[in-house]
């Protein structure tokens, strides 16, 4: 099927494709740059999407192999494109805003799997052209050796990214629990060495079977599972960001394999930008990447606080008391956490905010860098329910204001307001920057129960005299508050 036959010569077609790839590469760089500023972000995303589209169709119609052969199986390629677009579009459009992080993880996993499959097919191709003797081919020359190494690299990274992303997706969906095997670190390191060792021995021709690649693929998948399994659910965003950069690297290996610059540039860009983003995220939580990856945060750390946990009684209030506190306050700061997102209460909280403002109360939102499940996630959720952007105050700016705040309303947040991060050096969250809620005159904490937060540690804030606990589902309680406030007029 030579669709562009006649219009341009074969050489011209390939040259046009190179120009298309150049434009696509530019759109990726430009798009990523524009994504870094709120004003240009949306356009940046569309520009990159445009670049991707022309690269895809350019490849389909203009690509030729060394022998000048165009691609065939176009019906399957288009079938795959249509099917993938339909599923991707529907899933992406339907997903709730709260489930965005796991959605990103899911799509990332798909990219990883795609990279791994490419390696697998290329390997089959190589084996079938080697007349049953891959070693002889490898020994012949450097090019096959290089290609084989790249295939393995793409396969291993892609498989780890796929399996890891799916586990991360499951964890954020609440379908998979944190699980630490005894001697997990030793198993993981051993498994990793085995993967690299087997791949290397196949590439170098020391250990040869044609099925080696599939064995390595299987082990890499297992490694991906074991790698993410013990990491606490609260750290999933960091893991997803890391796996995201893994997939970028896997894509770059694909570009190396096909001598394809747009794949190379897109892949390396994401690999490097993603790695930096991962580190920035860790910094926001004041933890090192290594600590996230092997710290087993939230998994086994809960045991420490049993004996010396905060003691005392908790003051529970009902919505009616809470609404009176709010109504007669001059200044209220709302601290939204993941509990608010889970309860889908972002619209009700906006209603409450408007109601209080109409009573002359000054209302602001305090946004912790990791509020929600990812940096910026809470801003997205609140923006969705039309909360004024200027009311969302970042941590550094709001912290000095708590001293002049009458009532702080903490909704489904826990670890980000735990004073232990400042005072208790034995606490797993020690050193994490927190919102200084305890400086306010009164605090209302809306929470489902006295259960510990994601980090698995007690919060002494709840036991303070100034703290009022409002137990219940965030949405129900906020709706009750709104009803109380309305009935008071």
């Amino acid at each position: 099927m030579d669709l562009s036959n006649g219009l341009w010569s074969k050489k011209e077609q390939m040259n046009i494709l190179y120009v298309i790839y150049l434009i696509s590469s530019l759109t990726f760089i430009l798009g990523l740059k524009m994504l870094g500023s709120p004003k240009t972000a949306r356009r940046g995303n569309l520009i990159a999407a445009f670049g991707m589209t022309i690269a895809i169709f350019g490849t389909i119609f203009l690509y030729q192999d060394e022998g000048g052969m165009h691609l065939h199986n176009l019906e399957f390629i288009f079938g795959g494109l249509v099917l993938g677009t339909a599923i991707g579009w529907i899933v992406a459009k339907k997903v709730q805003m709260t489930a965005m992080p796991q959605m990103v993880s899911f799509f990332n996993g798909m990219g990883g799997a795609c990279a791994a499959l490419i390696s697998m097919i290329e390997y089959r191709h190589l084996v079938s052209h080697s007349d049953g003797d891959l070693i002889a081919m490898v020994e012949q020359g450097g090019e096959v050796l290089t290609r084989l190494s790249i295939m393995y690299a793409g396969l291993i990274i892609g498989s780890i990214s796929f399996a890891g992303s799916i586990i991360a997706y499951g964890k954020l969906e609440g379908k998979i629990k944190d699980k630490v095997l005894p001697g997990q670190q030793v198993i993981n390191i051993g498994l990793f060495l085995a993967i690299v060792g087997l791949a290397l021995s196949n590439v170098m021709g020391w250990l040869h079977t044609d099925t080696m690649l599939y064995i390595v693929a299987g082990l890499a998948l297992l490694y991906g599972v074991l790698f993410v399994m013990p990491i606490g659910g609260a750290d999933m965003p960091v893991v997803i960001s890391l796996l995201n950069s893994f997939t970028g690297v896997a894509a770059a290996f694909g570009g190396f394999l096909y001598d394809n610059k747009v794949m190379l540039i897109g892949g390396i860009l994401v690999g490097s930008a993603g790695t930096l983003l991962t580190i920035v995220m860790c910094d926001a939580m004041n933890r090192s990447l290594l600590n996230v990856l092997i710290g087993n945060f939230g998994g086994s750390s809960a045991g420490g606080g049993d004996g010396e946990g905060p003691q005392g009684t908790v003051k529970a209030v009902n919505p009616s008391d809470a609404s009176i506190l709010l109504k007669y306050a001059k200044k209220v700061v709302i601290v939204p956490g993941y509990g608010l997102a889970v309860a889908q209460a972002q619209h009700v909280v906006h209603e409450l905010e408007e109601l209080l403002e109409s009573e002359g109360v000054e209302v602001k939102y305090a946004i912790h860098p990791v509020a929600g499940r990812m940096p910026g996630h809470m801003n997205v959720l609140l923006a969705e329910s039309n909360v004024d952007y200027d009311k969302l105050i970042e941590m550094e700016d709001i912290n000095p204001e708590f001293a002049t705040t009458d009532v702080v309303l903490v909704i489904g947040a826990n670890d980000v307001v735990n004073p232990a991060a400042k005072t208790d050096s034995s606490s797993p969250i020690y050193g994490m920057p927190i919102l200084d809620v305890e400086n306010a005159r009164q605090t209302i904490v809306m929470k489902r129960s006295m259960n510990a937060g994601y980090a698995g540690i007690e919060n002494e804030l709840f036991y303070r005299d100034k703290t009022n606990m409002l137990f219940g589902d965030a949405k129900k309680m906020l709706t009750a508050l709104v009803a109380e406030l309305k009935s008071m007029n």
Binding site: L35, G84, G142, I265, G266, L277
Partner: protein, 97 residues
């Protein structure tokens, strides 16, 4: 090793430059945009789909065809899902006055 570097100069230069470009692009980004940024980057590495299209377009035997087809579908999911999800997130930011 030296042969390898000499033979792949273009790639190695590209690799080094792109690593720095990537780092430069991400630094100084407000944390508010981290989630959309991660999601946008996620869509961009969907460029791996180009590889799956090439491998599919050259496949001959049945198993390669099947694997290639799956690869194209998964790659498309990454691209389309990635860009659409990012756009939905950023749409939220746009609404503010």
């Amino acid at each position: 090793m030296i042969d390898f570097i000499a033979n792949n100069q273009n790639f190695i230069y590209l690799l080094i430059l792109m690593i720095f470009v990537g780092i430069e692009l991400i630094s100084h980004v407000p944390s508010v945009l981290h989630t959309p940024l991660m999601s946008g980057a996620n869509a961009i590495h969907g460029v791996v789909i180009i590889g799956s299209i090439i491998v599919m377009g050259q496949a001959e035997e049945t198993i390669s065809l099947i694997l290639g087809f799956i690869a194209v579908v998964l790659g498309t999911l990454n691209v389309v899902g990635g860009f659409v999800v990012t756009d939905r997130m950023l749409e939220m930011f746009k609404k503010r006055k």
